[in-house]
Symmetry: C2
Subunit: 226 residues, 2 copies
Amino acid sequence: MTLDEILPDLRRQSVDARHTETGLWAASMLRERISAGQLAPGAKLSEEPLCEVLGVSRNTLREAFATLAREHVVTRIPNRGVFVTRPTADDIREIYRVRRFLESAALTWSTSPTTDALHAAIARARAARDVGSVPGMASANQDFHAGVVALTGSDRLNAQMTQVLAEMRLVFHSMVANPLFHAPYIDDNAVILDRFEAGDRPAAAALMVDYLRRAEEQLLEAHSRA
Amino acid sequence: MTLDEILPDLRRQSVDARHTETGLWAASMLRERISAGQLAPGAKLSEEPLCEVLGVSRNTLREAFATLAREHVVTRIPNRGVFVTRPTADDIREIYRVRRFLESAALTWSTSPTTDALHAAIARARAARDVGSVPGMASANQDFHAGVVALTGSDRLNAQMTQVLAEMRLVFHSMVANPLFHAPYIDDNAVILDRFEAGDRPAAAALMVDYLRRAEEQLLEAHSRA
DNA sequence: CCTACCGAATTGTTCAACAATCCTACAAGC
DNA sequence: GCTTGTAGGATTGTTGAACAATTCGGTAGG
């Protein structure tokens, strides 16, 4: 999907928008579109048409670009422009490196033992699987892993995890989505949660590392084909 | 001399000559001053005089502010202005929460066993202690802990650690610096490194958590007095 | 002493202009 | 045929000025 195709859509959402912090608002609008896959990886985000459609000035739009670039959602090439990031194989390895550290550390040293959100995420994933909803499974799966890091109670670690999961969505969009990708991992999550609640944190962490290694391998394999 | 041989050299020069990103350049100038303590926490960064001094326009300066705000180095209050962040007690707790996770996880699961940088940092710290240089001890100590996270080989985790250490400098600047703060921790670092190299990673991680808890407590105590 | 209001100063945002850089195409030379 | 050089046009990088919105300090009035 190209930029031109979603321009009318964006225009509709931005007609009567009065906001303080316009730059952050513009960033969130673009982030939404990119997360949803309406702006595919590699797409060029030209300043002029976007300004016109969002109803902001070029300066404000550039603030939004700076925000998104810092989140690795968008890549800025000097004097060339801004593009939706197209994750490389190295990016995938880096993302999973971060996830292995963050998630296994959270399972090992977290202090908050409230796992309601994790149970809810697993329930949502199973419901989505029963209905055959791939986006539903993907979303619920991300909620589970975000919830694991939320056990740390740290805003900054949560922010980093949120960012990495946003990059994960880019990875999914940049390759042919295998409809069956998420399904087998749902029960893995359940086992990890079970071990964690049984008090066997090392086992939970080890299972998580194993899970993430398998997922990484599968994504790298798919990436090399694309 | 062939083309390939001089390519890296050329690239290095062109990177250095990159004044083409004025916003980032201005941000780094301010970051330097703040890190060095020349701009104390709580100081107001008025736009107009800064523009004049840095020789950039207000728009460019605001891009720099946006960058620093995302790094928590600077706090933006709408319609009031931009201030050097004054860390709160909660900030200190959050910083140490992140450090405990990042550093103990690095000691537990790191793959790279090259500890040269860590030995060098300890040596620098001891040399600074012998000379009685407090900034030298602080800097070397930060190098050691940054090096621990560098064991992960992850750019993103390194970036997060760098950011958190920058916030640590703000913490130090915002309270009366105790000249003896760093000294007792130097040998703790050495013990942690020793356990790590002996292959006893759980012990190294546990010592690190203990170290960070003591440092946090000490800083919180000092903060409550200020 | 407190409150309401007014004006100065500062920030938030936009606009228009210019400089610097890159892309495309096309001609010239080996 | 392939590379190299050279316009021209388009896009980005940066600036300066303008105006709206908001805050702050002082002051008159109760």
